[in-house]
Symmetry: C2
Subunit: 168 residues, 2 copies
DNA sequence: CTGAATTTTCAAAATATATTGAAAATTACA
DNA sequence: TGTAATTTTCAATATATTTTGAAAATTCAG
């Protein structure tokens, strides 16, 4: 396999995985392209390599910057903006996880809490059963959140120790 | 909030969450409806309560059964099939996780391994950097997989102990 | 300032995904 | 078995999402 082929497959695979988990294909592909690149790339280079429009490239880059996993890089003597991806896998994996949790999971947890409280005093058998179901989901997600927060706060060394403890 | 309102909000919330994480809205809503129901429901009842077509209801139910989080329930003297959701939250959450990992993550891990191996002997600076990036992702996902497998294998008591260790 | 280079926006078009509904297949009771 | 109830399938349709591309806004060197 030639290097260019390998990179292309990496980009395609990343795009497909993103789609299946609710991350836009172009966004995932731009991320992969930048990960696979040694040097910073301009919007034009990204457009050309991925064969996507300027608008799409621009919006994808902006989203990755918003996620905090791609940075702007100024190149002396060039007016264009260049972009580089955060190369530390653990760092960007966590940033994506934190962002998605905040944007998608947290509001749901709020609603679950509301529903759980609103049905707390329901005396009907049906109402009590429903309350219990919601409460169960709520408790589990809160436990998972506690763990996630601990993991996200850890430094690399702590994390390895914690995960080691988990396995043995 | 009336019980019916609370249930409806639960169904809507669940549907929205599913969509954002790559699970079909109808599938998520059928799951929520069954979770919120004390008694088994027939396809007709599901169609009626969610205002969806027979085809959609049928396919959604089948997918939930394939996931292993909804069961068929025969009711004596009735020819219709009835359905109930697995009410043990930990159980169905794990089943969904295992299923998605197998269907979507495992193939990606295979490809990452291939790419990593194919670029191993590349002597160019660019090739080595790319190899390292892919290798890093591969190693992290393998570590996460090991942990996930351990977690999925645990019984409830083991799991609590492990998670407790992780937090302290 | 001026104006060319660059970035951003967003309505329209293209694409992908979900849903419908009726016909075909299957089931199980008489 | 015959037949009516039920389930399944899938082409057609509807809906949602993504992508384009050109116009507007912004930036910055001269």
């Amino acid at each position: 396999m030639k290097l260019d082929e390998a990179k292309q497959q990496f980009i395609d695979t990343w795009g497909a995985l993103g789609s299946e988990w609710g991350i836009n294909k172009s966004v995932a592909q731009v991320h992969a392209l930048l990960l696979a690149s040694t040097k910073p790339l301009s919007t034009d280079e990204i457009m050309e390599k991925l064969v996507i429009s300027r608008g799409n490239a621009n919006m994808s880059i902006r989203q990755l910057i918003e996620y905090g996993i791609v940075y702007k890089k100024h190149i002396a003597g060039d007016r264009k903006e260049y972009f580089v991806a955060e190369k530390d896998v653990l760092k960007w994996a966590m940033k994506i996880a934190v962002m998605r949790k905040k944007k998608e999971l947290d509001p749901v947890m709020e609603i679950l809490k509301d529903i759980s409280e609103a049905t707390e005093d329901d005396k009907t058998k049906d109402g009590q059963a429903f309350h219990q179901t919601v409460k169960d989901i709520q408790v589990l997600t809160e436990q998972l959140e506690t763990i996630a927060n601990k993991v996200f706060q850890s430094n690399r060394a702590d994390l390895l120790i914690k995960l080691f403890k988990l396995i043995v």
